[in-house]
């Protein structure tokens, strides 16, 4: 075990909150239970990390195991990365028997044929997702483990969740390998990004609450209903209006919790419209501006705008179409309806 690897394992351990280190190492499964018993997990993280490295040296760990530990860390703390959704497309419509071994083989072969110095690791999870970690090097340099790319793929779906490496030049290679391995023809970024990987999955896999109308009795979600005022002297003047807002809001957002997004960005390239007599900005140039909504939980906050009386119900479809359109980065031009996505073709 070389020094670089030891340092990498040490730093990975340092990233984990102290109370969680033991569980993460147990999930990793590389160190035996007896070995873990010898580590005092109550000391400072610095010392824990050194103990772990010592044990890894005993077991002569290699880069493969270190990469698995890194994947486990990123799986548990996936919120620490920004994930972007890519959509793949193909001409034929035939459904395939997706074979994991085959996929891995093709993916590796494709990447390795372009770049010798890469570390590629896979890990499957119970929800049928495949996690791929790629550390990139150059023809003359060893892979940089600290600037890895992470890919989450669900077989037989056209969606890929990528948390790209800071090394931007590696993205086209990665996309190529993905397209080839999963038998697609094309891949493009969907303009949908978030820290919450699960919310992105909910959006593109249509698992978010959509409020379908049926006769099928579904268990009602518990809602926070404002307690009715017991004082008879207080008259709710706008009760009907309140009910209308409630109804409209339910129709747009549904009953359940919203997927978690942090941003919605609108790039406006529209003409400024004013009375021609006033002579304000009477140019044919589009009026460029960027509107960015940000919140720890954007869709929930949008949902609560109308009931709180801060906005008219219903909200603009530009805001409420986010999960439906599966994108949170928009470009608004004069002629609406065209949202070109950036294609990255292999």
């Amino acid at each position: 075990m070389d020094e670089i690897l030891a340092e990498y394992i040490r730093r990975t351990v340092l990233k984990i909150p102290r109370d969680e280190i033991k569980t993460v190492l147990q999930t990793w499964g590389f160190l035996s239970e007896a070995q873990l018993q010898t580590v005092n997990f109550h000391q400072i993280k610095e010392n824990i990390s050194q103990d772990v490295v010592r044990l890894c040296e005993e077991n002569s760990a290699d880069i493969k195991q270190a990469a698995v530990l890194d994947i486990i860390y990123n799986h548990i703390y996936s919120d620490k990365r920004v994930w972007s959704v890519y959509q793949m497309s193909k001409t034929g419509e035939e459904t395939e028997f997706f074979d994991l071994t085959d996929f891995k083989k093709k993916f590796k072969r494709r990447l390795r044929s372009a770049l010798k110095n890469v570390t590629i690791n896979f890990r499957e999870y119970e929800d049928n997702s495949i996690w791929i970690r790629i550390a990139w090097g150059t023809p003359y340099k060893k892979p940089n483990q600290y600037k890895s790319s992470y890919v989450v793929y669900h077989s037989q779906t056209p969606y890929v969740f990528i948390s790209a490496s800071v090394l931007k030049s590696t993205l086209p290679l990665l996309c190529q390998a993905l397209v080839v391995a999963s038998n697609y023809r094309d891949i493009r970024e969907m303009e949908l990004r978030s820290h919450s990987l699960n919310s992105l999955k909910d959006i593109v896999f249509k698992r978010y609450s959509q409020n379908f109308q049926t006769y099928y009795p579904r268990p009602l979600q518990e809602r926070n209903v404002a307690p009715e005022s017991a004082d008879l002297r207080i008259v709710q003047e706008n009760r009907h209006e309140k009910e209308r807002i409630e109804r409209v809001n339910r129709k747009v957002f549904g009953d359940g919790p919203q997927p978690k997004l942090e941003f919605a960005q609108y790039k406006l390239e529209t003409m400024f419209k004013s009375d021609p007599k006033m002579g304000v900005l009477d140019k044919k140039e589009p009026f460029r501006c960027l509107v960015k909504f940000s919140s720890p939980h954007l869709l929930e906050s949008l949902k609560s705008l109308a009931p709180a009386g801060m906005a008219d119900a219903p909200l603009s479809p530009l805001l409420t179409c986010i999960p439906q359109k599966a994108r949170n980065y928009f470009k608004i031009r004069e002629k609406k309806g065209i949202f070109p996505g950036s294609f990255v073709s292999p």
């Binding site: 459904t95 997706f98 074979d99 499957e124 077989s155 779906t157 593109v204 959509q210 006769y215």
Partner: protein, 347 residues
């Protein structure tokens, strides 16, 4: 105990008055009285010392005959007593049960009376109340209508049990496809259709790997019934395949070696499992291919095992492969394990 002639080997020998000392009538006056304690190896019969069996005998042969008679009689008496005791017990038990049931009847009667009284009271109150406003002897038309609406709504709710149910919306119709596998209800999926200007899918919650677009292209405009039934077949088959794989993982993980590899559609399952043969375990590698996406049974089964396995295992593999093709995965495994148990039971 009844008095009777139980045994009489010859004219002179008879036993009377069971319970007291047997008397040998023809030899009453004879002086020779023999007291006997009957022993044998192993002891067959024992007469307590305190009440010795006194037998007057003239001829030893007769004594033997007499004793045989006594034994038989006692045996019979014992059997009778035993029978009587069980009978008595039985009747006692029945009586007890009867008493219990009677008490329960009484209790229920009381409850019924109480409830009846409550209902009467309530009806009286209601009548009193309604009497103030009006006196409707019959339920109003409004109430009847409401009741009818409620029952129709309940009926529509029940419709989801059929698998496909729909509700008209402002712009079209919203369908709900409920899936089930062998009597277990699984997930429901929704499909919001717009009907104008042409039928199109507005929103849906169908998993992305179900070829919805393909099915829609084929049938949506021309035959909506067909569209729904094909989609429902796809969803049910998918739910069934997934359910089987889940069941296998849940209940037979001890037999499975390593992980069960599957894809999103669950149309390819790969796993290894242990097979016991001649007190040795061998590993079978299975590849189940579900070629028909509307079917929850595999169309192709490939079982391979390690080269060092005995030839008899090939037969087992063939049998298993046949079973996988016909029976749900978890049921096939259940039958393997029961077969193994049977084999273990046999010497």
């Amino acid at each position: 105990m009844e008095e009777g002639k139980a045994y009489s080997p010859c004219g002179e020998l008879s036993v009377w008055g069971a319970g007291c000392l047997p008397v040998l009538r023809p030899f009453e006056k004879l002086s020779q009285v023999v007291s006997l304690r009957i022993c044998a190896e192993p002891p067959l019969f024992w007469v307590p010392q305190r009440r010795p069996l006194i037998i007057t005998a003239w001829v030893f042969e007769r004594v033997v005959l007499f004793l045989a008679g006594v034994f038989a009689h006692l045996e019979m008496l014992e059997a009778r007593a035993c029978e009587a005791a069980t009978k008595k017990e039985e009747t006692e038990r029945q009586e007890e049960k009867l008493a219990r049931l009677k008490a329960r009847v009484e209790e229920l009667r009381l409850q019924r009376d109480e409830l009846q009284a409550k209902v009467d009271l309530q009806q009286k109150r209601q009548l009193g109340k309604e009497g103030v406003a009006s006196a409707p002897a019959q339920p109003s038309a409004q109430a009847v209508l409401e009741w009818k609406i409620r029952s129709v709504e309940a009926m529509l709710q029940v419709f989801y049990l059929t698998g496909i149910s729909g509700k008209l919306t402002k712009l079209g119709v919203c369908f709900c496809i409920s899936t089930a596998y062998e009597g277990t209800y699984l997930d429901s999926y929704y499909l919001d259709l717009l009907t104008k200007p042409e039928v199109q899918i507005h929103r849906h919650s169908v998993p992305v790997f179900i070829p919805l677009g393909q099915i829609a292209k084929k049938y949506l405009q021309t035959d909506i019934r067909r569209f729904l039934s094909v989609l429902s077949d796809h969803l049910n088959a998918y739910a069934g395949r997934r359910y089987q794989a889940d069941q296998l993982q849940e209940h037979f993980s001890d037999q499975i070696e390593g992980t069960l590899q599957r894809n999103s559609l669950c149309n390819l399952l790969v796993f290894n499992y242990n097979v016991l043969s001649k007190r040795k375990t061998f590993l079978f590698n299975v590849r189940l291919l579900y070629g028909d996406l509307c079917c929850s049974l595999p169309t192709e089964v490939v079982i391979s095992c390690t080269p060092d396995a005995p030839a008899s295992l090939a037969e087992t593999a063939a049998a298993h492969s046949d079973l996988f093709r016909r029976v749900a995965l978890h049921k096939a495994f259940r039958s393997f394990s029961s077969a193994e148990e049977n084999m273990d039971g046999a010497p």
